[in-house]
Point group: C2
Chain length 600, copies 2
């Protein structure tokens, strides 16, 4: 039996039934595509995952990147992979035709990322960082810059990166100190250091295109003085020849996992010869970044689900073959041992993972559908999708990231003592996924984004739009006996969430913003559980519809399995909201009141 790290049936179920790509194919932007052609892309991603990415996962883990003579060395297969990612269109797939892309729906693009990430997370950092960086250039840079950089990036020859973080500016991007000095030759001279730059240097590409934040000399303090630049490691002249651009690799960070991709510490302009080209207007760098961040953040959430999916199928396979113990009612020690999946607690651990993985992946596609809608709809419909996406972004980034830690930990637990050893891959997935609550904004940052900005923006319009959508699905679910109670429970929780929000708003008024936001992380968790509950209701409706229609497209076990995972989510995860609500309504503000010196 070949190793499984995602369910192709589930991807099909989500993309054909819950978020039908057939609908997207009707839009002008996607009219060259059909369900069949998009399915072929999914098949190609599967082949890439199985044949090229997964086979080198363990090797990559065992041999992390290293720095040799100022150059980062990565797995020897990575160079060939980057060519494939480029030539076969994985990097450019979602981009417009005019830039060499194929205008594939973002939802399908993300699905390929999910599959390849489940196979080998590190390998996809390279192409998809390039996609993100190229997208910034597409959206905000001059035609001239676009022509220089985008083709080389889409071909996989040049690596794109996001160069934001500095030693003193991580969560607080406002504190960036890298400088850019204008010259009269059309470029700027930048100086500064950037840390944690994923794929910031390696030997699998010929050049590196850093999308770098810096302050133009004399710029205003704070976020309003940050500009965005293209800073190549090697600068191309008019003939395409490359000259070293004074971008040095000071070091790489040794990490707990995610060993296949290097994270570099870069020094720009040590010799005062680092040329940089402004993207868009001065001082607007952060706003450009923010416009791209929704995609990047959905991507991080998706990566976290990928790894949890890999861990889930890994543990599911083990649970079906590993025998240990007998049924509680079986007292005869001479009877053979049973597969551990027969034990209720092991089923609990498996259903937990399935509920997290498939609930979260559904939410990822909810978000990418919004992205596709924003790109293809107009007027109020576009606005609605944009606002809902804004609201969902902190959730779709953070919930999978946080839960993937628990989900991979649970997978590891299914292996018993073996889970802690390198005999199996459970420990690898557990190490690998731990990065996702940290990069692209920590969970705390997203909690504050949700409660401090998104919930209240435009007088709560986004929240109202989202709740309306959820209530529609709740209503649709009411007619199915197996969903009724859970749909009702979700409706009740939605009311309670609104009460909590009102309570917090009153706290904001009486106690100020610090108290208001002090438990934003918990508020994010509460909101997230409801969002995933909603996704399970949506999936449940489709399962019931398919059953009613007597579908042959999915096995009875597949459909039943979905309903069990739905039940699991509502029986075991949804009750956690009660604990969060109790806390969020409490008037004790110990985390605000306690002074630093009183935490010992």
């Amino acid at each position: 039996m070949p190793e499984k790290f995602y369910s192709k049936d589930n991807i099909r179920f989500l993309l054909h039934e819950v978020f039908p790509i057939a609908e997207l194919c009707k839009r002008e932007r996607f009219k060259e595509h059909s369900v069949e052609s998009l399915d072929m892309i999914i098949e190609a991603a599967d082949s890439m995952s199985v044949n090229h990415l997964r086979p080198i996962l363990t090797e990559m883990d065992n041999k992390p990147p290293y720095l040799e003579n100022g150059k980062v060395k990565v797995h020897p297969k990575m160079g060939g992979l980057m060519k494939t990612f480029g030539e076969d269109g994985w990097i450019s797939m979602a981009a417009p035709y005019e830039y060499g892309g194929q205008q594939v729906p973002f939802t399908v693009f993300q699905a390929t990322g999910f599959m390849m990430g489940a196979a080998n997370y590190s390998t996809i950092a390279y192409p998809f960082l390039t996609t993100g960086a190229a997208h910034l250039i597409e959206s905000f840079a001059t035609k001239e810059l676009q022509q220089i950089y985008i083709p080389k990036m889409f071909s996989g020859e040049w690596q794109g990166t996001m160069a934001l973080t500095e030693p003193g500016a991580g969560s607080s991007l406002t504190d960036i100190v890298s400088t850019a000095k204008p010259t009269d030759k059309g470029y700027y001279l930048v100086k500064g250091q950037k840390i944690f730059i994923s794929c910031g240097d390696h030997d699998a590409c010929d050049n590196f295109v850093h999308l770098m934040l810096a302050r133009i000399e004399g710029a205003p303090a704070g976020t309003k003085g940050i500009s965005l630049f293209i800073v190549p490691q090697q600068r191309p002249d008019k003939n395409g020849n490359l000259t070293f651009n004074d971008v040095n690799t000071a070091g790489i960070f040794h990490k707990m996992g995610y060993h296949g991709a290097p994270i570099a510490h870069l020094m720009m302009g040590e010799a005062n010869d680092c040329h940089a080209w402004l993207v868009g207007e001065p001082h607007k760098g952060l706003s450009y970044m923010f416009q791209m961040m929704n995609e990047a953040r959905v991507g991080v959430g998706c990566n976290a689900v990928s790894i949890a999916s890999a861990a889930y199928y890994n543990s599911l396979e083990y649970a079906n073959v590993r025998t240990q113990g007998r049924k509680i009612t079986e007292k005869d020690p001479l009877k053979p041992q049973i597969p551990i999946i027969e034990h209720a607690d092991v089923k609990r651990m498996l259903l937990f993972q399935k509920a997290i993985v498939e609930g979260s992946l559904s939410l990822v596609f909810e978000a990418t559908t919004c992205l596709d809608n924003v790109a293809t709809l107009t007027g109020e419909e576009k606005e609605t999708n944009f606002l809902i996406l804004e609201l969902l972004t902190p959730i779709v980034k953070s919930y999978p990231a946080e839960m993937s830690i628990l989900s991979t930990s649970t997978a590891l637990q299914c292996f018993g003592g073996y889970g802690y050893t390198k005999e199996y891959m459970a420990e690898l997935f557990f190490r690998e996924t731990r990065i996702h609550t940290l990069h692209e904004g920590t969970t705390a940052i997203h909690g504050m984004d949700l409660l401090g900005r998104k919930v209240m923006m435009q007088n709560g319009k986004a929240t109202i739009l989202l709740m309306t959508r959820i209530m529609e699905d709740i209503e649709a679910a009411q007619k199915y006996e197996g969903l009724k109670a859970y749909a009702g429970a979700l409706a009740e929780k939605i009311m309670k969430l609104q009460e909590v929000t009102m309570h917090l708003v009153s706290v904001a008024q009486s106690e100020g913003p610090e108290v208001y936001l002090s438990d934003a992380t918990l508020y994010l968790e509460l909101f997230s559980i409801l969002a995933i509950g909603w996704q399970w209701i949506k999936q449940g409706i489709k399962v019931e519809e398919l059953k009613e229609a007597g579908t042959k497209a999915y096995s009875a076990e597949f459909l039943q399995s979905k309903l069990y995972a739905l039940q699991y989510f509502f029986e075991y995860e949804m009750p956690k909201t009660e604990a969060l609500i109790i806390r969020l309504k409490s008037n004790n503000h110990v985390t605000v009141i306690a002074k630093a010196e009183e935490i010992l």
Copy 2:
């Protein structure tokens, strides 16, 4: 500032105020000791931890053990350390004088283990496994065997191990297949393989004394046919000369963390020349093991707290020095950044860790106090302590083990992106602690032990005794304004726990044992949260008493910090019981009903 990995003030607070060792010193067994002499042992453990164990932690992590020519090689300092552990009495401390021990209270012995484990968990596996193995020999083996083995074990020359697990018998010990064939020379010939044997072979000791479970030929099937043997790697003759005893090291397991100690795969009797000496009576091996398991399991819980403590102080120190961002109310980007401990969410993450670490450590000492009481009291008092210990054992083993995963993960989160890198030790602690929910019984096993055996034994006598103790403390807490509400909340939860238990008993009657035990893991978590809440109430009472008495022994910040952690626990952790109660009272039994083939 020297690195801190535990709070000596907290150890003093627990051992002087909450679980007063002065009381223990009044007992006959401990009469040679005084608070001062026991404090000196704690000081010595601190010195050992700081000067000898912590300095090699990172080195050990970077260079895991390896197998060379059939022999396991460990860190070169380990040999000297084992001599020190032996010569300075760390191995034998708690043993009776007649065996060369010092009759130190188990509570103090465990405190030294806590400290040394926080410094470097792997290093203490060697001595404390030896202690546990020697204790089995003390309790059940013949005088002759005791004289041969115990002195060499206590001196640190010979390593003791627990050789239980086999490839097909992990959680299900009843399935052990190793055999023992009687001879007419007083020994048995054993044959079999044992896996996951911590410190099962290495070059820091001269010999290995495996306490091995095997079946005597013709023994009954199941747990009633398992016997316990001493199986040395080298067998000593009458003159103390060692002969190879046909115990081969087939391999070692490469692990995610806990790199300082090897876990071996051993082959006994491949050449039919593995001599083994029966401990106690035939077929009673498992019952002997169980009699020792309380100590071992308290030890595992304590080790999990150790690592969480190390991670907590590591992150606390970082939070005090790392600057990032400004107060939410501070809009001026030119104002300097503030230490991250000033942010409410960081304080939340620190108080979470503190509440877990200090609440769990308190529960560890609650359990060791029971052990000391069992060893020194008689009649009903002894019985009461024994029963409460039996009940607490699955909790004190599992709650710290489970929560240490979350606590070290939270420590890592405090470091932001740096937490994922090897620049700091957060990732090491996160990897290190993950073993504790697996060894000495997985969490599921302990859940079933609690709900399936302990809660109901002797018609629930242990539960009643424990609840009576808790209610006494709740009553004592009622007179303090700052504790009243929390004491009341705990009392209410105790009632709810009883309701849940009654509900489950009725489920057992109507639906049978499989449904009854299907959520035993959740029941364990529920019970555990109440147990830790109790420990916080106990600590709160002592804080209030000390404040009333105008203590100079503890700083005002120390006492305030305790109260904040107590508040945190009741505000953020205690509400989680509501979610568990909802689930435990549900009539949906999805984890029982779902068939293996319906989990896809």
